[in-house]
């Protein structure tokens, strides 16, 4: 009986000592989170310039926002961060009657910055009043602009 008690105490002591001596395992290092590369800058319409003409480098000649009825209206549009192929669209609305005057689109095939020009005119003259221009690139609305036709 006495020896059993001793054996029990001994075993309990062994278990206790073994438990205390157990080293804590090092915590695993937190996983390294790979940061995704920043997304490329989104294509965007960066400038809309109205003029009566443009040169070979697509720069405005006689920039203005007021035209005479029989003037040619030239709209120069700069687009940035374009990845081929992007679709640039422009719509011209006549504000007094909210009518579509002209809509055009062009495919941009050059990576990076593109300069584009749209022009429109009316042989018998555009009606006087305010006009609104809307641009979109790949279906996403871009800059807007406006001009006046005055007698």
């Amino acid at each position: 009986m006495k020896s059993t008690l001793f054996l029990t105490l001994f075993l309990a002591l062994v278990v206790l000592v073994a438990g205390c001596g157990k080293k804590e395992e090092p915590k695993p290092a937190p996983p390294v989170v790979q940061q995704a590369p920043p997304p490329p800058p989104a294509p965007a319409v960066s400038t809309v310039t109205l003029a009566k003409g443009f040169d070979v480098n697509f720069n405005a000649v006689n920039p203005t926002t007021t035209f005479k009825p029989k003037d040619r209206v030239v709209v120069l549009v700069t687009t940035d961060n374009v990845l081929p192929v992007a679709m640039l669209r422009i719509r011209c609305m006549y504000v007094p009657t909210n009518q579509l005057v002209r809509a055009d689109s062009i495919t941009l095939a050059q990576t990076g910055t593109n300069k584009s020009q749209f022009f429109f005119e009316r042989a018998k003259g555009l009606p006087a009043g305010e006009y609104k221009l809307e641009t979109s690139l790949n279906g996403i609305a871009g800059l807007t602009g406006g001009f006046t036709v005055a007698q």
């Binding site: 055009d104 689109s105 062009i106 020009q117 018998k124």
Partner: protein, 78 residues
């Protein structure tokens, strides 16, 4: 006298003409009746005197700069 929106009614804009070009493409132009190289140069470069530039880019199909035919597809250099 251009029409005025005096009555607020709809206006026929179907006769508005226009076009588009971009720096990133090879521009072409199909010759219409009554066109001349200087007229085309005026349209694209806003300078009729630059007709030679178009002529030089299209010498394979234009031998005489005074003779272009409707339907010819011309390269318009930048």
């Amino acid at each position: 006298m251009p029409p005025l929106p005096d009555n607020g009614g709809p206006i026929d804009f179907s006769d508005v003409t226009g076009g588009a070009t971009t720096s990133g493409e090879t521009r072409t132009y199909v010759v219409k009746k009554g066109d001349s190289l200087s007229k085309i140069a005026k349209e694209f470069y806003n300078d009729a005197k630059k007709w030679k530039k178009i002529f030089q880019a299209n010498t394979d199909q234009i031998k005489n700069p005074d003779l272009i035919r409707p339907g010819q597809k011309l390269i318009i250099p930048d």
